[in-house]
Amino acid sequence: MIPPRQIKISLITAPEFNLEYLWWLSILFMVLALLYFIGIFLIRNRITSNSGRTKDKKIELSPMISEFLFYEDSNSKEEKMNYLNLKIQIRELIKDNFDRSVLTEVLLDLRKDLSGQSQTVLIELYKDLGLHNEAFEKLASRRWQIISSGILELTTMEVMESYSLIIKFINHRQGTVRKQAEIAVVNLKEEGIGYFLDNTKYKISEWQQLKLLDVLRHKPNFEPPSFGLWLTSTNIHVVLFSLRLIKYYKQSDAEQSIITLLKHKKRDIQAEAIDCIKEFLFVSALPTLKMVYGKASNDIKIAILDTIGEIGSKSDVEFLEKLKKKERNFNIKSKVLGTLNKIDPESILPTKNISSSDYFSSEVESDKDVNDVQDDMANEVTTQSLEIISQNINEVVEELIVEEANEPIIDEQIVRINSDEHLELAEQEINELEYKVDTNVSEEITSLEQSVIVDSISEIDLSFLPKVDNDNIKEEEAISTDLETVLEEERVLTFDFLPLIISNPNIEEVKINDEDNDFVVLFSLDEDLEIEPIEIENQIDSFQENVIEEIDWTNVSDIDSNQDAEVSKEQLISFENDTVTFSANFMLQDELDTMVLLENIAEMGDCRELPMLQELLAENTSPLILDRTNELIQRFLYQSPRPNELFSSKNDLAESVFTEVYNHSDKETKLILLQEIKRIGDKKEIQLLESIINTESKTLAKSANAVLKHIKSQIVVANVEEINTVENNNPLFNVDFELCLSEASKRMMKSNENGSTIFDQLCSMSNTLYNKING
């Protein structure tokens, strides 16, 4: 039960909400949604029905309009009568607002698709039917959309009377109306563009300028006014548009105005004025261009340079040369150079990454005297460097003078100090250049000397010298190098790893075919010994005998045991007369096999190999084998488990082989497995069986219990048998003597047979009785 206090607390924290309000709210939203969808449905239906009605009305009106458009005076009387009837019919139609609006729409659409006479007739029909009056009414509307559509309609149908009504919208606050009015004014009357440029106060966007230009371009028989008149406008957009119109209509009558506009603060106007100057080739603008250049932006500078390139002359080269030195901007500097070359072709030659002519002529002048070359180059380079430095100094001085002229406040001492500093720098440059010159000259002298020597050698007759093959020289060099390397390496190398070293000069070297070699013969590769080839195929048996006889095995073993490592090294490899002599050593086949066996045991064996290793230890005498065997025995002894560990619960050997199978079997299989354990199991299975009894179901536990009892009984029997067997077989129990009892002992035993206790007595009685009964 929740205490009432807690219930109160929970009610305070939870918001209280009347479910009735929720229902009312749901109903309200459903009603609103329904109304929304009904509204959409009704509006959609109305639009669709209107669209259908308009379409039908258009189809109805189109033949009538066609009749009007293609009416000709030459038509027959019937056609004329039909035309008059249609006129009456259409006048009746336009009394209805919907029909009138559809007719206006049709005429406006056709106005776009038709040209020529049909278009003129269409416009006349529009006016004749008085549809423009409705457009006038639209202009009086308060809504800017309707005003805009009215202006568009009147402009499309070229209602000239609307001009005076539309011009007042040129400065309308609504942009759409204003732009529509601008186009209308320009379109309706020729003087419209003038009126517009005179009166517009707002910005003329780039897009609007293009549209107005398009209107003017397509205006038939349009005679453009002198747009130079509007270059004085206070509206900079008008000035800009006028400059563009001047350029488009190629009006070059406003030269001075355009030149003056070069000084305009607005970059756009400056750029447009420069374009006009370039277009009309106003040479008189050059001084202004040069004057404006100094404070112009980079774009304007490039435009000015471009214009100077077009209209400039050689008198402008000086100005450009100054700019070349002054300008730091890469683009402008490139433009200056381009302009210079444009005015005075090839006045500027390529200088970047251009080598001096001496660089190419130095090879040609190789036959000159070396000293002359040295002197010439040194003089030339020094002269050049001095010229450059003096030029730099002059430039620095010029700059300083210019700065002084511009800023007379600068102290003369400062100038002097600066010039002194520049001079010091110049001296440093001279020193560096001299050093470079010296270095380069000395290198060149060396190369020249070498070339002179080569030339002089080539002139000598060397035919008396013996011909030396270059390949042979290389081979000999390679061999000598290899030998030296080998000798050096041999001095460093140690040969402790070599197993057996036998070098006995008494042993004759015998050549043996390896294929028939089932034993190993020791021999030395001593060059002093003469090798006598033996025909092994015919004399293999006698050869074996002889060899075995010839080898002094005791001597060999003595050598093995007695020779130390140092001696072995000396005898294994000897260096005499720059030749290397190796002494070979081979094991006996049996030893080799044993060693292979030991290595296999070492790789794959374990403690079970210990008996075998013990046998090998006993059988072999070779110290190598003995060492290796002992080593392995030590290793496996260390690895082998202790007897008490072997059958401990942790050891796998103590675990029943049935354990894993049992754990992965079903109940039926487990029962079968228990029967098998009963049949062939031993004491290893006790643990498993005990675990089954403790953990498994009753059936399995019962079976396991039975099996366990069986196994335990088997173990007892086996132990008894084992004891008996041990007793029978053990030599300890087989004594080869008999115990002789003394008389006293015999009496003692006899008395003991009857027993000293009541139980003994009873037993003896029963035995006596038994003996009597059985005879």
């Binding site: 189109s62 033949p63 066609s66 293609f70 049709v106 698709d113 040209s115 049909s118």
Partner: protein
Amino acid sequence: MGKRVLLADDDQLLASLLNFRLKKGGYEVHHSLNGKEVKEYLKTEMPDIIVSDIMMPYFSGIELIDYVRNELKSNTPIIIISSAGNEQNVLSAFELGANDFITKPVSPTELLVRVAREINKK
């Protein structure tokens, strides 16, 4: 009986005007509103001249030229009407075998003259 003209244009107003003008000029005009109708008509009957808008539903004027020239293997004169400023369409039309090209706004009288000229050429 006048020469048969197939007028293919989805703009009903303009088509009606041109239809009227061509009929007045003595031609027998069949008006189709879209490419499907044009194809159906051409399967049954081949007109003396085809006047087609370049932009039509289902089957453009360019496809119509290709169909007439390559599938029907007909040399019937074809005049294409299109909006101005589409040079690529003009070139494609002439490449495929259009005989003439008129840009909008169209003068119905001019069209009449061109139709007469093409028929006379044929």
